[in-house]
Amino acid sequence: MKLKIITCIKQVPASSNVQVDPITGVLLRDGNNVKMNPYDLYGLETAFQMKERTGAIVSAITMGPPSATSVLKEALYMGADEAALITDRKFAGADVLATSYTISQMIRHMGEFDVVICGKQTTDGDTAQVGPEMAEFLGIPHIPYVKEIIEVNKDYLIVKSTYEQYEEIVQVKTPCLLTIEKGYNTPRLPSYLRKQQYRDYKIEMVTLKQFEDQDESHYGLNGSPTQVDEIFSPSKNHEVKHLVGSSEELAAKMIEILKESRFV
């Protein structure tokens, strides 16, 4: 039996330069400029290396509008064997809980699996919560911040995780979920050959109709306990003294400030 690995990836804005129009309060952002969440590249690479070690089958899934298929294509060209998109109007407005629940339903829909791999976090939400919440919904263990897969087989994995002040090596039974720390492998580039190979590949689109749980109140905005009340620009909280002048003057001013505040 081949190991089955499911990787979860996400399309994110390419730039974090989001601004609020001070008059209308409308979010200004360049929405056409998107890319794969950089953290997910390390997750994909981890999956591909496990595939090379064990001959696993790697699937890539994402949730989003039809245009999000571009990250799935990228995953296929990098080395994924299959890809599917979770997309439905009914999933709109999902917060962490509803998103995690939706993806967990997708994974159940996909049948048996051994390992789910997520990036550590995304660059747009920055919460790092979806992976662990999905694991809970799937009733499987999760290991966060994995930097190394030490042993992999059908029954269990041995992995090393990195925390701020320490590292841990643990053995975890499959099926399980891993979130991958960035920077411990070098994600491969999409291959031209694979691009040719997958030219006619049809990415499966999965909607609520195919899920086991059909209760609409568990998805999208209805299934989201949190709601955004308000968005605003960070406040300026005190007076700022702007200093201009020649480099000599500025350096002298700086010494003066440091002396005044008794640091020098």
């Binding site: 804005p13 730039s15 974090s16 609020v20 409308v26 979010l27 952002r29 929405g31 989003g64 997309t87 109007r89 999933f91 709109a92 407005g93 809980l97 995690s100 920055d126 919460t127 790092a128 919560q129 992976g131 662990p132 919440e133 999905m134 809970e136 263990p141 999760h142 966060p144 911040y145 925390y163 701020e164 002040q165 590292e167 841990e168 053995q171 399980c176 905005l221 209805n222 989201s224 306990p225 949190t226 709601q227 955004v228 308000e230 968005i231 605003f232 620009s233 960070p234 909280n237 700022v240 201009v244 480099s247 500025l250 350096a251 002298a252 001013k253 700086m254 010494i255 400030i257 020098v264």
Partner: protein, 397 residues
């Protein structure tokens, strides 16, 4: 709760393009003269508020409201390792006490450990009303499965209103597990917290990749869960203990786990920038790693700790433990000097509480200047050498 309905009879090409411009999430799709909303919609309702009248409509299909008066108590999970509490837990007790005053709720501490005695004493000295202790040999190492069972037990028994946790690596792995188990919301990395009279927790955090703040609430689910970074809030003053201690029966809680600890490895200690009193932070304006030598005289004079922004960690110039910001450390030194940093919201949220902030940058419009006390508009490659000359002159190096 609800969704946006588009009244297509009012949609023209112009209306469609106006709405597409308004929507920050690119959720509108206009094909064959039909305007539809795709899965990117976050139901922010901007199209209803700012768009042409009557085209977009918000359809409310809310669930029945919960009775919020049942849920009482602001609980803080006190993270520990080797029976020693992480300081962030005590900082959260301070914030919990502050917001609990508004709703007149008790403040609880939850401790899960092999030996909780010392932590219980500390919690009491910080003035909590009650400490709930899950003490068992099985809780020696943090285990996300067994610890989640304990917090689930706590919530089901006490039906409390809020659970706060530190957004440490452990907390960020643990909190989502609890949120999913209890089917409730969770807001990560809050930088501010407040509460309404009704007991709704207002969770404020940077959003949409960073440059704006979002105020989030959990209107119809309990408990309300949030994680908060270390060093965001102050520890409360010590008091003469008055709180109660309740040891929970742990015998019936499942200790089974599919995760087995094989080895624990301590990382070599680096100077922790969270604790530093004087910090010099460097940013992308430094072109080469060697140029960092420029700041050496100032560093020596101030006996400062060096810290950096995310790009310099990505360059490999610094260990990520020296990074300031929400994806690094939050710092609150007495003096922070920023050199060549423009200041993303993530950086700013990680340092804005510093007592004295001096920033040097050649761009007068840099965002970091807004939170600085002194903004020095100049090129670091020109100002710092002059500064070094002066430092030499006054004979300090």
């Amino acid at each position: 709760m609800g969704y946006i309905k588009v009244n297509n009879e009012k949609v023209t090409k112009e209306v469609a393009s106006e709405l597409m411009d308004i929507c920050p999430f690119n959720a509108f799709e206009y094909t064959d003269a039909y305007l539809s909303i795709n899965a990117s919609c976050r139901v922010c309702k901007l199209c209803v508020k700012k768009g042409p009248k009557g085209v977009c409509e918000f359809i409310d299909d809310s669930r029945p409201k919960i009775d919020k008066t049942i849920y009482r108590g602001i609980a803080v999970y006190i993270e520990q390792r080797n029976n020693k509490a992480h300081e962030v837990g005590f900082e959260l007790l301070g914030k919990a006490q502050e917001i609990a005053k508004k709703t007149n709720e008790p403040v609880y501490a939850i401790v899960i450990a092999k030996d909780a005695s010392k932590i219980v004493e500390q919690c009491l000295s910080y003035g909590v009303d009650e400490v709930f202790v899950y003490q068992d040999d099985a809780y020696e190492d943090f285990n996300v499965e067994t610890y989640t069972n304990a917090v689930e037990h706590f919530y089901k028994k006490y039906q409390n209103n809020v659970i706060l946790m530190g957004s440490t690596p452990q907390g960020r792995s643990f909190a989502p597990r609890i949120a999913a188990r209890l089917r409730t919301g969770l807001t990560a990395d809050c930088t501010m917290l407040d509460i309404t009279e009704e007991g709704d927790l207002l969770q404020i955090r940077p959003a949409f990749g960073g440059n704006i703040m979002a105020k989030i609430n959990t209107p119809n689910n309990r408990p309300q869960l949030a994680t908060i970074r270390y060093k965001m809030f102050n520890k409360p003053d010590k008091v003469v203990p008055f709180g109660k201690v309740t040891y929970e029966e742990t015998g019936n809680l499942s200790k089974e786990s599919t995760i087995k600890m094989i080895e624990k490895i301590e990382k070599p200690k680096v100077n922790d920038i969270s604790e530093a009193e004087v910090i010099i932070a460097v940013g992308r304006a430094f072109k080469k790693q060697k140029d960092l030598e420029l700041i050496e005289p100032l560093r020596q004079k101030l006996n400062a700790q060096i810290a950096c922004t995310r790009p310099l960690v990505e360059n490999g110039w610094f260990d990520n433990r020296l990074q300031i910001g929400l994806s690094g450390r939050t710092v609150k030194p007495k003096l922070l000097i920023n050199l060549g940093i423009s200041g993303s919201v993530h950086f700013i949220e990680g340092m804005k509480e510093s007592e004295l902030i001096i920033s040097v940058n050649q761009d007068p419009n840099t965002k970091l200047f807004d939170v600085s006390h002194y903004s020095i508009i100049g090129d670091i490659y020109e100002v710092i050498p002059k500064l070094n000359d002066l430092l030499k002159e006054i004979g300090v190096v």
